[in-house]
């Protein structure tokens, strides 16, 4: 029975990897301009491995495939995996099925930081080593500040409860959202403002592989780091007291986890804006498939997150000629799942 369980989890992971590659391929081959299949293959092979000759193809086609389509699928994969990862860690960290960077206002904190940097300017960082990453640094500061504010607010007057946590998240999210909107409203030119609005609702549009690399490196670091923490994540889910009696030093681990997740959220928000609900719903879907044990949950949720995000992006691109902000798609999919979580009985929402 136990063996069967392991085999089926491994089978599921292999299946998800295959699906992920297929969706990635589909994502690479589709877009506003249709490019013949064989041309896409030739462009990819040439650009990646230097194989073949693509001088007969129009430069515009090459640019579309290599600078728009290919990085976009990959970016979706990375962002989806990253959001799912952050969702899992946050849910375990606060033993709460509602935790997610979007609900807890951490994405909003990051976006306020980034908005601030874009429109007010990151002049104060000029001359420092951070000058090239002004937006990222501000987003990270925003995410950290929002995390600390939410956890401090919900810890006032005793233990952190679900209700207090979610309410604190709502408070911080609306506060940060209001300030972001204020900055956008005061934006000097209209085009800049429209760009920002689009970005605040989330988008995977990229300008090439720079963005992909910017996101991939932190993601790989985070995935590897939390892979070493699966046992702790499991124990954390049994509650603070039990985790302590099992030898887990919660106060230290929480600080480290908050720092790393805030960093990850900052990277994601900087590159793709606020994309809600993915971090919330993907861990739940994964739990429905393989249970709560993180040894199984972690890989499955990360793969599901990647697949879901690429699929949502394909949808966002295919409804209309101009694309829909991806945050809208994920919210439409996410809200009903949120409702389902609330109704389902095997999840607790704290005592009372």
């Amino acid at each position: 029975m136990k063996k069967l369980g392991n085999i089926s989890t491994v089978g599921l992971i292999i299946f998800l990897i295959v699906v992920m590659i297929m969706v990635l391929a589909y994502s690479t081959f589709t877009g506003a301009v249709s490019v013949p299949f064989d041309q896409v293959i030739r462009i990819l092979l040439n650009k990646t491995f230097g194989l073949g000759d693509i001088s007969d193809l129009r430069p515009a086609t090459v640019a579309i495939v290599w600078q728009l389509y290919a990085p976009r699928g990959l970016l979706g994969l990375i962002i989806g995996a990253g959001l799912a990862l952050v969702g899992i860690v946050m849910q375990a960290m606060v033993q709460n099925p509602l935790a997610d960077p979007y609900i807890l206002g951490i994405s909003s904190g990051a976006s306020l930081g980034a908005t601030f940097a874009i429109l007010i300017g990151s002049a104060f960082l000029t001359g420092t080593v951070f000058s090239a990453y002004g937006i990222e640094v501000c987003a990270f500061i925003g995410a950290m500040a929002a995390s600390i504010a939410v956890f401090t607010l919900s810890a006032i007057g005793g233990k952190i409860t679900s209700t207090k946590l979610v309410l604190s998240g709502v408070i911080i999210a609306s506060l940060c959202g209001a300030f972001s909107n204020l900055i956008v409203y005061l934006a000097p030119n209209a085009a800049q403002m429209r760009d920002l609005t689009f970005w605040l609702m989330g988008s995977l549009s990229t300008t090439g592989f720079d963005t992909v690399v910017m996101c991939a490196v932190p993601l790989v670091i985070c995935v590897v780091f939390f892979f070493t923490q699966l046992r702790n994540l499991n124990a954390m889910m049994l509650g603070d007291d039990t985790a302590t009696t099992l030898g887990i030093n919660l106060s230290t681990l929480r600080k480290v986890y908050i720092l790393i997740t805030a960093f990850m959220v900052a990277v994601l928000v900087c590159n793709c804006g606020i994309i809600g609900f993915v971090g919330l719903i993907i861990p739940h879907i994964a739990r429905a498939l393989v249970g709560t044990n993180h040894w199984k949950l972690y890989p499955v949720a990360i793969l599901l997150g990647a697949i879901f995000m690429m699929a949502a992006d394909i949808l966002a691109r295919s409804f209309t000629v101009s694309e829909i902000p991806i945050g809208i798609i994920t919210a439409i999919c996410g809200a009903p799942v949120f409702a389902y979580i609330m109704i389902k009985k095997s999840y607790g929402f704290g005592r009372g």
């Binding site: 029975m1 136990k2 849910q91 033993q95 709460n96 099925p97 679900s162 892979f227 070493t228 923490q229 046992r231 702790n232 499991n234 124990a235 889910m237 049994l238 509650g239 603070d240 007291d241 039990t242 302590t244 009696t245 099992l246 030898g247 887990i248 030093n249 739990r287 249970g291 709560t292 044990n293 040894w295 095997s346 999840y347 607790g348 929402f349 704290g350 005592r351």
Partner: protein, 278 residues
């Protein structure tokens, strides 16, 4: 392996909960902590298993100061069973028990055959082996409590701390849980509020009242009619049970006056039992 506290004081804001508690649990001794609600039993235990901070005093585990041990080191010496176990997420029974192996494992180490064997044995010890693939939340209170005990067993520690482990359990499971613990022969410190259970299972007892130890000794020395009247404010008779030879506490409900008490014939002389045997 022993547990020792010296003049431990614990406070929450504006209130002293535990004052100057010195107690010791010797190697393989089963020590009970009794006292009315709010006397500080749970608070004291929380401090021993390190989920609460104390204000002053010392705690020693195996003669080593507790503060000098990492949480992992103390988790290898001491396992804990508490009364409330409610998870926001649903785990498989086997997964819950596997968590008991946490302090034995390095970060990247996966569960091996030996761990599975230990977990299986722990579940078998509490008669829950057939339930190992069930969801924890689908179990009854008594079954959940036994799974939590199995987790503590899987931790394979020389000491056990139990905080009213029999709360909300049917009498069968109250006895079963304590029997399992007794059979283990660990160094055990257990808060109980049922005086009969305390008398039946403990080698030695401490009485806690208003956060202070007001009595200590074997059940025979400690559980007396005077003590029950003084600490709990209840009249009772304490006798040696003719069959078990153990102490037996019978409480007197307030509606009985002294005359009725004396006139009631002993149970043995009643003509027929109304309970039919099945």
């Amino acid at each position: 392996m022993n547990i020792k506290t010296e003049q431990v004081c614990i406070s929450v804001p504006h209130k002293r909960i535990v004052s100057d508690v010195s107690l010791h649990v010797d190697e393989r001794e089963f020590v009970g902590l009794i006292g009315p609600n709010g006397s500080g039993k749970s608070t004291l235990l929380n401090t021993i298993y390190r989920t609460m901070k104390r204000e002053s005093g010392n705690i020693y585990l195996d003669d080593l100061p507790l503060d000098g041990l990492s949480l992992r080191q103390s988790a290898l010496k001491l396992a804990v069973v508490t009364q409330h176990n409610y998870f926001n997420f649903d785990f498989k029974v086997e997964d819950v028990v596997m968590m008991g192996r946490t302090p034995h494992k390095k970060a990247m180490e996966t569960d091996n055959a030996a761990d599975l064997q230990i977990v299986g044995q722990a579940l078998a010890d509490v008669n829950m082996y057939e339930y190992r693939h069930r969801n924890f939340s689908s179990l009854s209170g008594g079954e959940q409590q036994r799974v939590i005990l199995a987790r503590a067993l899987a931790q394979q520690t020389p000491c056990l701390v139990l905080d009213e482990p029999t709360n909300h359990l049917d009498i069968k499971y109250q006895l079963e849980v304590l029997d399992i613990v007794k059979k283990l022969g660990c160094t055990t410190l257990c808060a109980l509020h049922d005086l009969n259970l305390a008398a039946q299972y403990c080698d030695r007892l401490y009485i806690l009242q208003h956060g202070r130890i007001v009595g200590e000794g074997t059940p025979e020395e400690v559980i007396t009619e005077d003590m029950i009247s003084a600490i709990y404010g209840v009249k009772a008779s304490v006798s040696r049970h003719p069959k078990t030879g153990l102490l037996n506490v019978a409480y007197y409900p307030a509606y009985l006056n002294s005359q009725t008490l004396n006139r009631t014939p002993p149970l043995m002389q009643m003509p027929h039992s109304t309970v039919t045997k099945t």
